[in-house]
Amino acid sequence: MRTICFYFQVHQPFRLKPYRFFDIGEDHHYWDDYLNRNVIRKVAQKCYLPMNALLLDLIHQHKGKFKVAFSLSGTFLDQMETYAPDVLESFQKLVATGQVELLNETYTHSLAALKSKDEFQALVKKHQDRIKELFNGYQPKVFRNTELIYSDQIGAMVADLGYEAVLTEGAKHILGWKSPNYVYSNANAPKLKVLLKNFLLSDDIAFRFSNKTWADYPLTTEKFVNWINAIPKEEQVLNLFMDYETFGEHQWAETGIFEFMKHLPEAVFSNSDFTFSTPSEVAANVSPVSKIHVPVPISWADEERDLTAWLGNDMQDEAFDRLYELEKLVKGIDDPEIKRDWGYLQTSDHFYYMCTKFFSDGSVHEYFSPYDTPYDAFINFMNVLSDFMLRVKQKQAELQS
């Protein structure tokens, strides 16, 4: 069996409002409700609603043969519930067809896996509960960590939680001569299967689709099917992992991205021997060829495919360490608002905005950031964190007395 596994990341952070030094100690609402609502509504119109409708059509049209998988972050679910219940309903319809698989992740799309097993497990549990609640008791079997961040150690934590498979990047520096088009297993917990993103073919759709200076522009379904037919016969799985916002938001409707997706399944069925599968089907049907060793965490971000988009410069490390220093204190406080803010502050995007890699990937960072510079992002986050620390300490003092 040769199969294509489509997986889409759907995530929106709770962006911080401009929070000034003068607000510390007084203003405890950190979130830019107006901006966040606008982003959700804009992306809903350009991407979520039309693309969900298109996928629903394809699922009906191909009667059980076309399928995809999503990971919907908790911060996205929360914002969708508040700002876009119509989008939530369309996702519920998709899941109800039985052809759409949902994955688990940390609730707030956090970097907790790199810092605290406890917090990691707590956030995964929260995501499980929320998916169950919103999608009619649905229980994911496959895990996808924030931005495909993965290492042997993170894989072992995922295996401990009972998942069958995990998704990550087919990074060149861990694969070497090996192909991403096989199923591998975790080096420490061999039962856990590891699905690797084929970044060449994924990025042809996600990044290069509308690039007119690309030699293969324009990308057509015939061309794409020719490429997948050229994959050696023994390689069985083609993992196409990408941001869901690729459709209509990163690649605008005018680029023809919707038309491409509309015709892709048909072209695949009529001109190749590929089928479509969800990650859990791949995990159940395909045996791993070997272990894959990932001693140092990888991700799907930037050229380096490492953690440097979020951590590594002094600002990111300072913000990250100061935040997680609070973990024990927060755990001891039973206050819903403190708990909520603690989670939302962990969202990886806050650290992404502080990235100072200004070269090839700087423009990507800039595109996603609501701040003018990484320095602004850092100052704003630290002001908020300073207020949050005061609240935590105050609550703790109240509890003690």
Binding site: F21, D314, M315, R322, Y375
Partner: protein, 425 residues
């Protein structure tokens, strides 16, 4: 008087000082024609403002042409021009890199616009301003003396003197050595020196500045008078604005540039926080060293105790002073430095560097060498923890403030004018 800025459109202490001086002169019934490159329409109607952009210029006048020729070819090859904010900085560098056209054709039309801000086209504007100054000097012949503030207006002063034959006083609020350290921008230095040499008398804002003028510009000490700045209002401000955090606050407020010594404040903060974590440090302002300071604070792992506010305007400046427990001005070289006096008005004890002119008039403040971060940390710690000393400074500081009036400065200036006019005749 030729200036470059006037409240409320100011980017530094020069505008505030000019405002105080004009107000003081008003008190002594002196008529002032104040020329600024661009009027915004909302200045107080105290002086007879002449908007340089509105003056029609007769470019065929020979003496003008000579002037233009003398000044056109001066170019700023350094980015360290006074009060260059980030926005202007960008414009300036864009200009320097992309669209430098040394002679703008519009100069030869009858009327031209001044941007009124520092930065882009700075040298060009300085020389255009001089051209206009000459025209004004010819049109308005009802004045006795010409007074030019800082190098930007010196060419204007020289031009006005040349065409009118009236005596010139140049007022030095800062020198190129304060702004750039020892690596001075030569064209700027040349203008400063030319202005001081052409002047009949030089006014310096402090003894510190007078020393530089004598030593580095070779001006005879007898030609230089020290007139310390004053404060517009010496009353104590009782702000209703309250601090929202439990910790004490130590503040740096000013442009974040080499001259202001922000890095010494950061290093001293680290030393204080190591001993007492219950303090918050605030660096308010903006400037070309801001990002470097943010990086350093992150590197020292004290960003939850050290905050940045960006550029503060209007009420926020008052609020910042009001909630500060200690104000620090670690300037590397500060001709005067009016900000500590504002802090005193808010009953905030101050620490100032010995390399500041204000140290000459403010006796009740802790004075440290800007580079001595240990002494600075000690002083901050002492003012935060030993109530006796901070209470004493609060009381005595506000007494001292009452003596610093612009009327007094203006009275001394009138004496300088009289002496200068007497020497001429």
């Amino acid at each position: 008087m030729f200036g470059w800025e006037f409240p409320p459109h100011i980017s530094g202490g020069l505008g505030t000082a000019c405002y105080g001086l004009v107000k003081g002169m008003n008190h002594h019934h002196q008529q002032v024609i104040f020329v600024v490159p661009k009027l915004w329409g909302d200045e107080e109607p105290m002086a007879d403002f002449v908007n340089a952009s509105d003056v029609r210029i007769d470019y065929r006048e020979k003496r003008f042409k000579k002037f233009w020729k003398n000044l056109t070819y001066l170019e700023v090859s350094s980015f360290l021009v006074p009060y260059l904010g980030p926005e202007e900085f960008k414009k300036f560098t864009d200009y320097a890199v992309h669209d430098r056209t040394d002679v703008d054709e519009s100069i030869f039309s009858n009327k031209f616009e001044f941007s009124g801000k520092y930065g882009k086209n700075l040298m060009e504007e300085v020389s255009r301003y001089a051209l206009v100054a000459a025209q004004i000097a010819r049109d308005k012949n009802n004045f006795d003396i010409i007074h030019a503030h800082d190098w930007l207006a010196f060419p204007a002063g020289i031009a006005a003197k040349e065409i009118s034959g009236k005596p010139l006083v140049v007022h030095v609020h800062a020198t190129e050595f304060d702004r750039s350290g020892e690596t001075v921008n030569q064209p700027v230095y040349d203008i400063e020196r030319a202005g001081m040499e052409a002047a009949d008398h030089v006014v310096a804002v402090s003894q510190l500045t007078k020393n530089i003028i004598v030593k580095k510009y070779g001006i005879p000490a007898s030609k230089v008078t020290v007139l310390h700045n004053a404060v517009l209002d010496s009353s104590i401000i009782k702000s209703k604005y309250e601090k929202k955090v439990p910790e004490k606050i130590v503040t740096f407020l000013g442009r974040i540039t080499f001259q202001k010594g922000p890095e010494y404040f950061v290093e001293a903060a680290k030393k204080v926080i190591e001993r007492d974590p219950n303090v918050r440090f605030v660096m308010a302002g903006s400037g070309d060293l801001l990002n470097r300071m943010i990086h350093r604070v992150a590197e020292l792992r004290m960003a939850t105790r050290f905050h940045f506010t960006g550029f503060l305007k209007g009420n926020d400046v008052d609020h910042m002073y009001a909630i500060s427990d200690v104000y620090v001005m670690p300037s590397v070289s500060e001709p005067f430095g009016i900000a500590p006096l504002e802090a005193v008005r808010h009953n905030t004890p101050v620490i100032i560097s010995k390399q500041s002119g204000v140290a000459e008039v403010l006796r009740n403040a802790i004075k440290v060498d800007f580079w001595d971060v240990d002494a600075m940390a000690d002083a901050i710690f002492a003012l935060l923890h030993y109530d006796g000393i901070s209470r004493m400074f609060k009381e005595l500081g506000s007494e001292e403030l009452k003596k610093l009036k612009w009327e007094h400065v203006a009275a001394k200036l009138v004496t300088v004018y009289e002496k200068t006019l007497a020497e001429r005749s």
